[in-house]
């Protein structure tokens, strides 16, 4: 048992956990409100949308793929939610429809990736544009097609202002909670648990690692590559849609351009969490911890009076540093290992 614990201590996740604790302490020293647990937990609502998108993205990165269209799917889900509600549908049903749209969008990405050898970066680049464009154009399109909206001056009005006045029960999603734990945080934890089980305990999750490490061997080993890819991109779509729904509730307004600025943070979280952009490595726990690290960092910077414009500078620099550091450490370890083996071999002669 002790050996197990010691081994875990050497892992990336442990390092992240330590950093997280340190971070909270440091931030608390600067601004004591951070040490108030209730405050701390409620501040997570600010960045849960990043985690919701980053968690399933981890699974995609494990397959050596990538999905940058998540931020557009957020907006698409949001506007879909708003528009269906305005058209008279119950808000919670509208919510599920929005999630469904996210899944469909993800499946589109996945199908394209699975069916062609085109780089997922390019595919999701195209769909980033496409989904964003559709999200923006949807209100106008519905108007032009003659759909009627409840009250208000037709769909087109919603294009720039977004759809507000959403039911209180829906807004509670982002602003309510159970005891000290706000709903968004709970949603993240449940989603993380769900994805964690899928990734680490099911054969679907195992397939992800196999595909990421050696897609050819995966094919030769009869791994159902195509369906696995479609599913994992669908999950990413779902996560993005969830993020869009939560954000909509948070801002109490449905907009098509929600989450546009989040791409950098999302990828930073995934990479910081230990996932390797070349595939085969990554854990849910790591991404989760990294999400909190980055999220609290943002809070902390803002609390210190740093303007929100500077935050991406820090995050961007952090992303580069983390990756460079990982590469250095890996190369150093490799050299040490080689030298050791050399000595052992010579000694044996």
């Amino acid at each position: 048992m002790k050996a197990h614990v010691l081994k875990w201590m050497k892992t990336w996740e442990f390092g992240l956990a330590v950093l997280l604790v340190l971070e909270i302490l440091v931030l608390g020293a600067i601004n004591p409100t951070f040490l108030n647990l209730e405050n701390l937990l409620y501040s997570t609502s600010d960045f849960t949308h990043i985690l919701l998108a980053a968690l399933p993205l981890t699974l995609i990165i494990i397959t050596a793929g990538i999905d940058i269209s998540g931020v557009s799917i957020m907006g698409l889900a949001s506007i879909t939610l708003g528009l269906t509600w305005v058209a008279g549908v119950n808000i919670f049903i509208a919510m599920f429809i929005a999630l469904g749209v996210g899944i469909l969008a993800g499946m589109f990405n996945g199908a394209f990736v699975a069916a062609t050898d085109v780089n997922p970066l390019v595919i999701t680049l195209g769909s980033l544009f496409m989904f964003a464009g559709v999200a923006m154009g949807l209100p106008g399109l519905l108007d032009a097609l003659g759909f009627k909206a409840y009250g208000a001056a037709g769909f087109a009005a919603y294009m720039y202002e977004g759809i507000s006045g959403l039911p209180h029960s829906f807004n509670q999603i982002a602003h309510g909670g159970i005891g000290w734990a706000p709903y968004p945080l709970l949603i993240v934890l449940v989603f993380a648990a769900f994805l964690g089980v899928i990734l680490h305990k099911t054969r679907f999750g195992r397939y992800l690692y196999l595909i990421g490490v050696n897609p050819d061997a995966a094919r030769y080993s009869n791994v159902p590559v195509k369906s696995t890819l479609i599913t994992v991109y669908a999950l990413s779509g779902l996560g993005a849609a969830l993020a869009g729904v939560v954000l909509t509730s948070y801002f109490t307004s449905a907009r098509s351009d929600l989450g546009k600025e989040a791409l950098l943070s999302i990828i930073t979280v995934v990479v910081l969490g230990g996932a390797d952009i070349y595939g085969g490595k990554g854990t849910i726990v790591g991404t989760l911890l990294a999400g909190f690290l980055i999220g609290f960092l943002r809070q902390g910077l803002l609390a210190m009076g740093v303007t929100s414009d500077v935050v991406p500078v820090v995050v961007g620099a952090l992303l580069i540093l983390v990756v460079a550091l990982k590469l250095f450490v890996a190369a150093y370890n490799q050299r040490r290992l080689n030298q050791k083996a050399l000595k052992m071999s010579e000694a044996r002669r």
Partner: protein
């Protein structure tokens, strides 16, 4: 024609006391914690064609990559013309007159032939064109200078690489397995060119695993095994037997592998496990054969004969294949690897790194990759998975610290065993083994042979593809020989002889060839 002959007389002088072109002293190289070269000593004299022989993983390519500046050795020295040199990059090696023609030619497919030759070289273009035309003629390279390099045949691509070396005034050429993708005629062509170069005083290192070729072309042979030179002598003093013996450990006998005890009759009575009828695709035509339960059928032939392509088509990995495949009497209908597996046929691929093993994951993951659906309904049962892993670890004597050891850190032999475990895990009735002992050390090799015997005893039908003719001869009940995409010979147990098989592999029929 293709038989081992005495090396042709030329200007190579074995007694020369001139300084050797190249001297490698006590070279050590470690990769990912595994020592790959353990004190290599090697030299090359002017005009000498020096062959390096050894199985995959023995260190031949690595040694030459050190000489050509791609790798830096952990220990040891390189002397060129008596002067000690350290190469930090291929560029530096080139400056010392060394050029390596890699096994897979490094071509820029979208650039022209001329650019492929001249890029990176500091030379006047007009002068270069003249030189290229001259060299091309000498070498037998047929292609326009402005053609796209990607459209050249492999043979021409290799010649392109050689011209590259000559353009750089290389005095030392290293040819790494140059014949593996060449037709028989192209090999002869190449050898003649090599003799021409040797007459000009250029020293050539020739890496190969083909005994007959090595005997044909070289002046001296050095055999590597597991990172050490175990035999070095002039070719005239050697023969195939001595070479093969050198590549096995001292205590193993070349004919150690037990012949199968089961009588021929009892095997004929057993059912047909695999029935292939008129299978055709791009690389082969009208292939038909059967494998019975408990039978070992060998499929021999040169590289390029189409054996791996046949195997992949039989298993269902080739969507363009036409013909019919029956596994235990069931028609597979469409090429479908998953269906084949569920019907009881598995394939152990030729290139385990590319197609067989997941190097950067725990070895256990590779072993269970094909049977994950049997390890639990919704969740993978770790315990069940480990049981499977332990069982094969024992059965195949796989040497690893734990089931979760990352596959990359295992030796070649153990990696191959892991891949075999993966194949066996689905309890197949027919197994196609494609070069199962390539890059595997001798003791692991014996384990694999015993495994093949055991499997046959248990009634598993085995199709064995191997370029090691002796291996096929020793293990098979029946041997099919393929040549240029067709099966040209089928030999029963009693009539199997190494010479016959080898001759057939080169497309020759009948005794008269010898």
């Amino acid at each position: 024609m293709a038989k081992p002959a005495t090396p042709s007389p030329d200007h190579y002088d074995p007694q020369s006391d001139k300084t050797p072109l190249v001297e490698l002293k006590n070279i050590w190289k470690v990769f990912a914690g595994v020592p790959v070269l353990k004190g290599i000593n090697l030299n090359l004299r002017p005009g000498e064609i020096h062959a390096l022989l050894g199985g995959n993983g023995s260190g031949k390519s690595t040694t030459m990559k050190i000489l050509s500046g791609v790798y830096i050795p952990e220990r040891g020295d390189i002397f060129i013309d008596g002067q000690r040199r350290v190469f930090h990059s291929p560029n530096e090696a080139h400056k010392s007159g060394i050029y390596m023609v890699p096994q897979e030619p490094h071509i820029f497919p979208h650039l022209s032939v001329e650019e492929n030759l001249l890029l990176g070289l500091d030379i006047d273009v007009g002068e270069a064109r003249e030189k290229i035309t001259r060299l091309a003629q000498e070498i037998g390279f047929e292609s326009g200078l402005s053609e796209e390099a990607g459209s050249l045949s492999i043979a021409n691509q290799q010649l392109l690489e050689i011209i590259r070396g000559l353009l750089r005034n290389a005095q030392i050429l290293i040819l790494d397995e140059p014949t593996s993708a060449l037709t028989f005629r192209e090999v002869e062509h190449l050898f003649n060119r090599m003799r021409t170069l040797s007459q000009r005083g250029i020293g050539i290192f020739f890496i190969s695993h083909r005994l007959n070729e090595v005997m044909d072309i070289s002046h001296r042979i050095s055999v590597l095994r597991e990172g050490r030179i175990v035999l070095a002598a002039p070719t005239s003093e050697l023969n195939s037997q001595k070479l093969v013996r050198a590549m096995l450990p001292e205590d193993a006998d070349v004919r150690e592998v037990e012949r199968r005890a089961r009588s021929a009759q009892s095997r004929e009575a057993s059912e047909v496990a695999l029935d292939v009828q008129h299978l055709s695709s791009d690389a082969f035509q009208d292939v038909s054969f059967q494998v019975r339960a408990g039978e070992v059928v060998g499929l021999a032939g040169l590289v390029g004969a189409g054996r791996t392509e046949v195997a992949e088509a039989v298993v269902g990995l080739d969507p363009h294949a036409r013909g019919r495949v029956f596994i235990k009497g069931q028609d597979v209908k469409k090429p479908d690897a998953r269906r084949s597996q569920s019907l009881g046929l598995v394939y152990v691929p030729e290139d385990r790194h590319a197609h067989g093993i997941f190097l950067d994951l725990p070895s256990l993951y590779t072993m269970t990759a094909t049977i994950l659906d049997r390890l639990g309904r919704y969740l993978i049962s770790r315990k069940q998975e480990e049981v499977v892993g332990d069982s094969y670890r024992e059965q195949l004597s796989i040497r690893m610290n734990s089931l979760y050891q990352i596959a990359r850190t295992l030796s070649g032999g153990n990696q191959q065993k892991v891949v075999l475990a993966k194949a066996l895990a689905s309890k197949p009735d027919v197994i196609i083994l494609d070069e199962p002992t390539r890059g595997v050390d001798a003791s692991a090799r014996q384990d694999v042979y015993h495994l093949i015997h055991r499997l046959a005893e248990q009634g598993v039908g085995i199709l064995l593809i191997s370029s090691e003719l002796e291996e096929i001869v020793d293990l098979s009940d029946r041997i099919l020989v393929m040549y240029q995409g067709r099966i040209i010979q089928e030999t029963q147990r009693a009539d199997i002889s190494l010479q016959k098989i080898m001759a057939a592999a080169f497309g020759l029929q009948g005794e008269a060839s010898l």
